[in-house]
Amino acid sequence: MSEHHTHEQTTRSPYAARIRAIEALLLEKGVLTEPEVQDSISYMEARSPANGAKLVARAWVDDEFKELLLSDGKAAAAQLGMDPEHPAEFVVVENTPKVHNLIVCTLCSCYPRAILGRPPDWYKSFEYRSRAVREPRAVMREFGYEPPEGVEVVVHDSTADVRYMVLPMRPPDTEDLGEEELARLVTRDSLVGASVPRASATTP
């Protein structure tokens, strides 16, 4: 280990080191330029679960918007000033008192990045990817959510050109909350369906 390495470099995983090496080669060979790499980083950093929370909160207070969100996710996102520009389709699935949805990508880590940014690490783990399809109820229990009796669990494996997001149900006892307060209840995990928004999440 060279003493010139920074702390960040010495703790980097072998995968990160490999990507750095590939990036350096691509730049050196002129396949990529530094501004392109920066643009790509800015693109991802401009997106976050806060976008999903905004879409959900608007759908909770505006039935017409909810209809649009469920029928044309990209149009709904564009209406709230988001840029859903991405070749993949963006489909929002609705949780109801009878149906609870859970999203996974068993083949890799497909996720509505154009809206939500990078997926959480657990979403990319082998454990989540293999167990979410086989024992979705056990996985949700580990996230602290157990669907009530009589609720059907529907798993969406995003195997191809569609990226899915869950529209969770509005938690009870939130009638007095405004759109922004509602958005704060919507967690990243609830947009994947691993959990559900809870009214208590407002308590600081």
Partner: protein, 101 residues
């Protein structure tokens, strides 16, 4: 979109139990399993070619296919109503038994 569709919503289908080397978007746990067409998603460049820098032509029909969880896993924990959806390209499907669901 929607040209030359071999299947429509409600049709029973089976995922081909085929092996194909390289990049495929059909997960192994669905191979040989039976389900139904839930929806027609559209036509997309074939990802099996795109992955190797090819154009992916002709585009392929993509379907949202539904499966009963109990048909996928012998030891599935949960009610018979639980469902799994996956998006499967037409060339990975064959007509299933029982015709239209």
């Amino acid at each position: 979109m929607g040209r030359d569709l071999s299947y429509g919503p409600g049709d029973r289908v089976r995922v081909l139990p085929a092996e194909k080397p390289g990049h495929v978007r059909t997960p192994g746990y669905l191979k040989g399993k039976s389900g139904w067409i839930e929806a027609v998603i559209g036509r997309f460049p074939n990802p099996e070619d795109l992955a190797y820098g090819l154009a992916g032509r002709p585009e392929r029909n993509l379907y949202k296919v539904g499966f009963r969880q109990a048909d996928l896993w012998d030891d599935y924990e949960g009610p018979a109503e639980d469902i799994l959806y996956a998006d499967v390209y037409e060339h990975w499907l064959e007509p299933g038994e029982g015709g239209t669901a």
